[in-house]
């Protein structure tokens, strides 16, 4: 469902020097897969994740999402793809502090271009109930625990019913018990909801939740 074909990400430092954040790599993530991308910091796994998440464009090569070449899409179309196709979960949760839990979860639906077949607010309230966040709807992110914040972030990723959840070090800011809970949650989403999950991590313990592991080292997929 998403394919990175011989992508390279490089930055020109000066006239003669070019820094390669990611050397020529090809990666394919299939529908309903649970993939872990593992590598030490500076390995290029974050760059890889940004490319998969359509947050960045490759310097060379092509990204193909469900048969569509990204290079042929404009900024608005790519934004809509991010909105409908991918749900992001970040290490620092990345909730918007001035918005309540419910508003944070609803935020992607405000940017939706397509007409939703469900009422996002109803859906959000249902998710909140299902994932044990009742009573926190009107709380601001700084008033709830880290584990709860990460759950809010996951619900925000789910509100648009995405095909894929892309999680960047989702347990990095959590204690191991809460981290395990979050990973189990992602596993459930993969198994029960058939949502494709890709996680980026440097911890082998976390990576082993994936059914397939992609190793990134020195800017190259190995």
């Amino acid at each position: 469902m998403i394919k990175l074909d011989k992508v390279v990400k490089s930055y020109k430092i000066d006239e003669e020097t070019t820094f390669y954040a990611l050397k020529e790599s090809s990666v394919e993530i299939k529908d309903k897969e649970f993939v872990s991308i593992i590598g030490p910091s500076g390995s290029g796994k974050s760059t890889l994740m940004h490319l998969i998440g359509l947050l960045d464009k490759p310097s060379q090569g092509e990204i193909i999402v469900q048969g569509r070449k990204i290079s042929g899409l404009n900024d608005d179309e790519i934004s809509s793809l991010r909105n409908e196709f991918i749900g992001f979960v970040f290490q620092q949760f990345n909730l918007i502090p001035k918005l309540t839990v419910l508003e944070n979860i609803l935020l992607p639906s405000f940017y939706a271009r397509k007409k939703l077949e469900y009422d996002p607010k109803e859906k959000a309230l249902g998710l909140i109930k299902r994932f044990g966040l009742q009573g926190k709807e009107k709380s601001y992110p700084n008033k709830i625990s880290g584990g709860q914040q990460q759950r809010v972030a996951i619900l925000r990723a789910l509100i648009m019913e995405p095909k894929m959840i892309l999680a960047d070090e989702p347990t990095g800011n959590l204690d191991s018990k809460t981290g395990t809970e979050i990973m189990k949650l992602l596993k459930t989403l993969n198994e029960e909801e058939k949502i494709t999950i890709a996680i980026v991590t440097h911890e082998a313990d976390i990576a082993k939740y994936g059914k397939r592991i992609i190793n990134v080292k020195d800017g190259r997929v190995v």
């Binding site: 947050l55 608005d76 991010r82 990345n94 909730l95 918007i96 508003e103 935020l107 940017y111």
Partner: protein, 400 residues
């Protein structure tokens, strides 16, 4: 639509979280709008006040005043210091064919003693034609008539304000005696309120009106400060003026009197206030410009502060235009906030000065104030908003 309210709500939440910064930023707009609205309200009020004084006189009226009224020497000074007219002038003007009715005017100020209070007041002495020319209406009692003028009866018509002050109420004042500088008069009528007053010009509600012949008690020379006349509407006003002028020229030199239509005075007044308003708007524009730059500056800071937020929003699907819109709305909200506060403050200020100054706020200045402040928000918000919209998602989300 819900998205729009959502943006506004989150902008307000931002303001709530940094009240002081928000207030200081909108202060520039606040002061600018306050200045524009208050100053134009004062200008408008003064203009309306002056217009109202002359509007009451209707279209077919003329004044004859001493000196040159509408020329560089100015209105006030010449009419006070110039030569004054007498009965001979009145009779010669009465003979002018196109003048339908005429009244001489003179005045006397002094302490008026009523049953309840004593108050400094002024009597306007005129003929019975004055009420018709000035468009007065009687509330209680009657106007004085030709017989009162012929017989020099000591009767007065009172303005409602002074009647109430001296006697407690309008009804109480009727048929009572009032003494002014030790001359006793009977109040035979009270006029309906004419409104206005308070700023130098005549406040008819606080005046007495008496027959001009009776007024000679105070002025043995029997002089008048001016004539007011109603002209025949079938005759061109220019022709009437010419006839009146010829009558006056028999005794006076051309520059010793002036013949004025209320509309002429109005156009002079309008001209003066037009220029005044232009100057006020120009001054206020500078403060609005400074206010706008303040908003632009703080919006740039806000964009930096919110780089991460922009990154998050972009990651979850916001398009460049969504971000652009969000920041423009925020800038507009900020400047409208300033505008609304300035407007509120101006309103309070105007209420405060109204008792002694005819300030007058109209819909135009309110609309203008809010329109201009939103325009400032848009104009000065666009550049910072564009900066935010053009942030690279991947750079923005990594920003700490």
């Amino acid at each position: 639509m819900t998205y729009f309210f959502f943006i506004i709500k989150s902008a307000l939440e931002d303001f709530r979280r940094s009240k002081m910064q928000t207030f200081l930023t909108s202060l520039g707009i606040l002061i600018g709008v306050f200045a524009v609205v208050t100053l134009t309200a004062m200008g408008l009020g003064l203009k309306k006040y002056i217009s109202d004084q002359f509007d009451a006189l209707g279209t077919n009226t003329l004044f004859v005043a001493p000196g040159k009224l509408l020329e560089s020497r100015g209105m006030g000074a010449s009419s006070l210091l110039g030569n004054r007219f007498d009965l001979k002038d009145l009779n010669s003007l009465k003979r002018v064919r196109s003048v339908k009715s005429i009244t001489p005017l003179s005045s006397k100020s002094g302490t008026a003693k009523g049953t309840k209070k004593s108050e400094f007041s002024t009597i306007f002495f005129s003929s019975d034609a004055f009420f018709d020319i000035s468009g007065f209406e009687i509330d209680k009692g009657r106007f004085f008539d030709k017989r009162d003028v012929d017989k020099r009866t000591k009767v007065l018509i009172a303005g409602p304000k002074i009647a109430e002050k001296l006697f407690g109420s309008i009804n109480e004042a009727l048929d009572k005696k009032v003494s002014i500088d030790n001359v006793s008069f009977t109040i035979i009528g009270v006029i309906k309120s004419k409104g206005g007053g308070g700023f130098g010009g005549p406040d008819y509600d606080s005046y007495f009106f008496g027959p001009y012949t009776t007024g000679f008690i105070f002025d043995p020379d029997k002089k008048f400060i001016r004539f007011a006349m109603k002209t025949d509407e079938n005759i061109n006003i220019a022709t009437v003026k010419e006839e009146v002028k010829n009558a006056m020229l028999k005794r006076y030199k051309d520059d010793e009197f002036s013949i004025v239509e209320p509309t002429e005075i109005l156009s002079v007044v309008n001209g003066i206030f037009g220029i005044l308003n232009l100057v006020l708007v120009a001054i206020a524009s500078i403060s609005l410009l400074v206010g706008g730059i303040g908003i632009m500056n703080i919006m740039y800071v806000t964009v930096s502060d919110k780089t991460k937020e922009v990154g998050i929003r972009r990651a979850i699907g916001a398009r460049k235009n969504d971000i652009l819109f969000q920041f423009i709305v925020e800038a507009v909200a900020l400047s409208i906030l300033g505008g609304a506060l300035g407007l509120g403050l101006a309103y309070i200020g105007i209420l405060f000065v109204q008792p002694f100054f005819p300030a007058y706020m109209d819909v135009t200045s309110v609309t203008l104030a809010l329109g201009v402040s939103s325009a400032i928000g848009i104009i000065f918000g666009v550049l910072p908003a564009r900066k935010a919209a053009n942030l690279e998602p991947v750079e923005a989300i990594r920003y700490e």
